[in-house]
Assembly symmetry: C2
Amino acid sequence: MGCMVPQVLKGFRDYLPEVMIPRQRMLRTIADVFESFGYLPLETPALEYAELLTGKYGEEGEGLLYRFRDHGGREVALRYDLTVPLARVIGSHPEIALPFKRYQIGPVWRAEKPGRGRFREFVQCDVDILGSSSMLADCECLLVDAAVLRALGVERFRIRVNNRKLLNGLLAHYGVVRTEAIHQTLRQVDKLEKVGRAAVADLLVAEAGWERPAAEELLGLLAQGSLDFPFTNPSLDAGRAELQRLLELAAAAGITSCVELDPTIARGLDYYTGTVFETVLLDLPGFGSVMSGGRYDELVGLFRSQPLAAVGISLGVDRLLSGLLELGLLPLGRATARVLLAVFGPETAADSVAAAQQLRAAGISTEVHPSDGGKLGKQYKHADSRGIPVVALIGPDEAAAGRVRLKRLATGEEITVARAELAARVAQWLG
Amino acid sequence: MGCMVPQVLKGFRDYLPEVMIPRQRMLRTIADVFESFGYLPLETPALEYAELLTGKYGEEGEGLLYRFRDHGGREVALRYDLTVPLARVIGSHPEIALPFKRYQIGPVWRAEKPGRGRFREFVQCDVDILGSSSMLADCECLLVDAAVLRALGVERFRIRVNNRKLLNGLLAHYGVVRTEAIHQTLRQVDKLEKVGRAAVADLLVAEAGWERPAAEELLGLLAQGSLDFPFTNPSLDAGRAELQRLLELAAAAGITSCVELDPTIARGLDYYTGTVFETVLLDLPGFGSVMSGGRYDELVGLFRSQPLAAVGISLGVDRLLSGLLELGLLPLGRATARVLLAVFGPETAADSVAAAQQLRAAGISTEVHPSDGGKLGKQYKHADSRGIPVVALIGPDEAAAGRVRLKRLATGEEITVARAELAARVAQWLG
């Protein structure tokens, strides 16, 4: 110890207060919105039996698991997402009554190659409704999505919705019916926004076995943005009916203006079975989706004897945070205190402590400079550099007179007030 | 996959909603109190370089580290506490201005033998003031301690304070001056409340090399509970002066009634250098300390060229939670929603969704039963079993008349109201 160079582990990061303050404010708002819809909080361990997580994320995902042997020789792994742990909870707690609406906010770990905005530890934020196959549940996901963004001050956003059954029906018309072939096609369709229609046509031909005319025709149908197609089949009909019902419920709930049908939305994940959606911020084109999700009726029943209907949202905490910061909707924070009680010297320190308690009792966050006084200029600078708007000082004269000197740093205004008026006056300054 | 038995890892646990609801409420209150004193939030990764954590926790602690090699061959470990990561942050972020007041709430991992109330993953909650050697900082820890408990509804508690310099001065009088000998003695003294004075005297003789008469005399001096001793030395004087100043500041801040000098408090941890304190709930005798801490001026400077003065509090989240639950100060939670919108059937589902949005817009947490209707009895039971106090229903008659049927489950009272009066009426029922 002693002299080693202290380093954060590669691919990991510290959240210093400047980012933590807005981040925490954002996460609280999000949790409040979830609870306003009746979702219940859940927390699961960071570590799980490795065998529980293997076989769930594909070969590539599995290679990213942090796996090791614990002190008892058990093969364990850090969780890779919050979905498989949820499935485990449902399997191991039969007392949980259905339908079950839960949210969980917590870190997950993936040994990805670190890169710009890509970390090996990141926070996931999931809401899911288990045990309901009603479109009311799908619609609720859109309502929660819109409510979260509005609560965070975002007015200009669009939730793009689609349905996997509809897509499957379209693909079936072109003879693409095997699961693997469907996934190969959807993974390419998912790139439409990023690379454009011509490039996706090329990819469908090169990577997913399509004939060019069929690929062009499919992309044309997707691009028209409606539910009218020149052919039909049961899967297409089912998907269309679900989408129509979803849009009808969304309209009743008053969120039509921010929901948009987009038949090109596929969401890469293989496990979606019905509704899929993603959410973009209209003032940050190209930023990507900040909240997405859909129905995945075959995943959460993994550890039960029967499948379990499920629909949910996954919110990218750090992506959304950086979007909100970029839009100026969430200022970086430097202080949690609104007032700094400067300390003149040891003989008046007790008065400062008492005055600070008085302010806190009035609901005003107050920091006492933790020093025995002296260097008042440095203490005022401490407040200024952290964005604490008001400094209060009790020197010997103020102490003798039962008064407090107040300075408003933004304007330089200085006054002295009686101790009894302190909280009221500060509250008035702080607005 | 498929049929494996889903199990939580040995020594770990799930927090189901019933516990998560009060736990989250408690943690929010605690963070709010910290922020009301100007503490800033910080978050560090779960994983650190193993070499950063080794040599810090003694041989026994080090054996409890979850260590492994990551994909890049680095030796890594899950964090064991939040203090060494804080020291690392201070060392790797020279831009952090001092004094620095931070709090961090997060899980730590120790491969302890699992037992009653002992888990391998548990949440720590730390507040620390770095870069101040003023007793104002020590006093602030007591103020925060008291403010947290009061904010959580606890009125009957006692913060017992002592000072390591005082203890060192007392021991020095008996020739106990080597660090290791001091620690051996303090570890026995720390057991006073648990095993009693006679047993500790025996332990001092058997385990810490004391002569019996000296041991009896020491324990007699500690038991008198005052700062008057029949001898003196510089360390004793320094400790006494610090304690007197601390008590004087605590009196000015108005918390005298819950602070008590207790010369027997040693706190087992070897790194304390001055003030030490612990907190007991008077209505739960024998429950142990729920918040403790002290000054440790030699630890946080580990990764800097100079030492860094530090004083802080560590709060036992799960212990405090179980205390609050036992005292009935924090009810178990079953629901986050206050109203359940039952769903009569597909034709009125959209009305239910719209009415729920209306209630949420009025700040009333509302759940829509995620079903396509039918089995109304089951839906009312869903609300009742979760403790949701009000059920609202829109059947075809109510829909046609623009009304909502409301039932208050506690009394069975049922009324119908116009949609426009819905939120006001529910708010009135909910008080």
